[in-house]
Symmetry: C2
Subunit: 409 residues, 2 copies
């Protein structure tokens, strides 16, 4: 029951020259679905990645970090759904190595040129034999126009595949950006999405690519939350194939770098919002804007306090303008010197709170009217500075409990 | 559907000499229930209080702080349920003042000798006329053996009144401790309970009483969580009537002070656990013990990360040993130098994780067996120090969503 979210058309997803994708049914957790993806990059492609800050990071995340530090250029990614290969100790790391080795063997690469990714249930052994048996079919399936199938192959409790694409021109050269992501549960900033892969055919130098990645992640995946849980497997990878033939971008802050950043952010924000719209059990898509704070960090802390509050989230689910719960969340966000008497609160166009108390003109019926909507903006004006932050979240419904209570059945 | 929790017998609640309680039906939110309480203290009684750290603290909390700082000894408390008088601005403060003034007038006190408390819906005006009209009936009802009625009169979504009592002997003098609390939702450390009032007939000097209060709160109300929301109204008050005739306790660290602390903690922990057992929608009572940490603070952070995780809580609700979710929560608790390879995890008597990975002897059926129980202990052994912490919480069920979605209807 995703909120205002529809599966993308395969034809709306532009190919990224040089980047090929192949999927297969490996039967990792459930039969009869695509659950394995191999992505192959052309020679000369650059890649940058950021990963979960969870100390219990999964085996594939550990191996990604190791392979990214190796001298060999990365040429392939392998992604399975159904099993996270997390909390699996040394055996899990061996399984991830074996997966990379098999992809490398079939593609004529070295294992360190392959990055592994897993998503699904934690603390269960990866069914390695089935993963390995599925890889040849992925490789047979490799083609550039396979982004939608790839998006489908990495879903877990997602109800809609998540993919987005855009084209721009930089210095007269057409540049394409296409990405896929999966999310739904265990969504939290740092990182917000379990897995996201965005590719462009632009030529970008590696350090510039890493800067672009950090900037784009901050605006997109690190600004969404479903349930406040940070996964063991979160990974966001950015690929630049270089096939477009533009003058290579050496600096993320250059004109060309900023133009590319905008295109990347457009795709990343669409994917990040899609994750929230398809949040487990979501019936409402909620934008939380915190304005005129002293620092961007304090604005984000307040926005996330609101976004994480189970009481706020259930009130949205119920379409109940029990808006004092929003004030309570602002109050416990941990801003020690916050003067609540300066705070205004809006629900879409309705002013609810003035100067820390109920606005004299506010009537319950106005709040009730806004709460019926499926997309709602909460705007908090702190009145103490010039910094802002925006966070996207969803409500907490019966279906969230059902989905997570029955996830493994 | 409280977990292993039954309403106390009125006869099991010992009177605290000199402390009288009276209740009434004021019709504040719903007719036909006791919703107003007045507690009167004898001359010479001491009182100490700690309050929510929420910046949006309610009007009565603001007034409590003001009156506690005044020179006049506190002689009465007035508590209403049904309306929190929070997020109500200057008008709310006036309403709280008017409530104190009326209690003071009827008892022949000064308004600053009265402390007000409110719990219920946030950001709605207090129905002051109904509160004032109910006060005389409370005062007519004042008596020492009224603790159970008082516990009932402060309930909101609680399904069971919460009261506990014990007797000890200090230096040959019999000492009584009796307390009541209400909780159910918006429960979080600092403070954990919306409202708790514990009284003893011991004679305790004011500073020692404040020290005892802080110590007891840390062990009890600040070690429980239902949903991670910190209320605008949390208040924990400790009264020492002095009627027992013991040698006054001047130092919380003295022998007598420590004996009294133990009795107070026994009552406070029982009340705090009762709040979790009656957590909104709770079907399971979960004890989280984190052991052998470097600091008590890091143990508490890990325990609360587990206790707050919606994914962990829904797994308990489902009796599903999806225990990787516990590892994930440990990993994102924010302990930067945590070596997960040293961590062991137990579910009651079953060892689930050894050295950061699934224990070789662990079988799903063992976890399944424990998960069927209604009371479960999660034990995390960090293996990096000698500090410990214990936190109590409950699961996240469909009923939590229902209760909070429909709270105001």
């Amino acid at each position: 029951m995703a909120v205002g979210l529809f599966a993308p058309e395969a034809s709306a997803l532009y190919r990224v020259a040089g980047v090929r994708l192949g999927v297969a049914q490996a039967g990792i957790r459930k039969p009869g679905r695509q659950d394995l993806l191999v992505m192959v990059l052309p020679e000369g492609a650059e890649i940058a990645g950021i990963f979960t800050r969870n100390r219990f990071c999964a085996a594939p995340v550990q191996l990604c970090r190791e392979h990214l530090q190796a001298a060999d250029p990365v040429r392939a990614l392998v992604v399975n759904t159904g099993n996270a290969n997390a909390g699996t100790g040394a055996a899990g790391l061996e399984d991830a190595r074996a997966t990379c080795a098999e992809v490398a063997r079939l593609l004529g690469l070295r294992p360190s040129q392959v990055l592994p990714f897993s998503t699904g249930v934690i603390m269960e052994p990866l069914p390695l034999a089935r993963v390995l048996a599925g890889i040849p079919a992925c490789i047979e399936d490799l083609r550039e126009d396979n982004w939608l199938a790839a998006a489908q192959a990495i879903m877990t409790t997602d109800t809609v595949p998540k993919a987005a694409s855009c084209r721009i021109s930089i210095g007269g050269t057409p540049i394409t950006v296409t990405g896929i992501a999966k999310g739904a549960g265990m969504i939290h900033p740092d990182m917000a999405t379990l897995l996201a892969f965005i590719a462009t055919d632009a030529a970008v130098e590696r350090n510039a690519l890493q800067d672009l990645l950090a900037d784009v992640a901050d605006q997109s995946f690190n600004s969404v939350t479903v349930d406040g849980d940070t996964s063991t497997n979160d990974s966001f990878m950015l690929v630049a194939s270089g096939a477009a033939g533009n003058t290579p971008i050496l600096d993320a802050r250059s004109d060309a770098g900023r133009m590319l950043a905008e295109a990347l952010a457009q795709v990343a924000v669409e994917l990040a919002q899609a994750i929230v719209r398809d949040g487990e059990g979501a019936t409402k898509f909620i934008t939380i804007q915190v304005e005129s704070g002293r620092t961007r960090d304090e604005c984000r802390r307040i926005a996330f306090a609101i976004a994480h509050s189970p009481l706020v989230k259930t009130a949205f689910f119920a379409s109940d303008p029990n808006l004092g719960r929003i004030l309570a969340a602002i109050g416990y966000a941990g801003i020690g010197d916050l003067d609540v008497a300066r705070i205004d609160l809006y629900l879409d166009e309705v002013k609810v709170v003035s100067g820390g108390g109920r606005d004299p003109g506010y009537q319950e019926a106005q709040g009730q009217r806004v709460m019926q909507r499926s997309e709602i903006t909460v705007r908090v004006v702190l009145g103490r500075g010039s910094e802002n932050a925006t966070v996207w979240t969803c409500d907490l419904s019966h279906d969230y409990v059902t989905i997570n209570a029955e996830y493994r059945t």
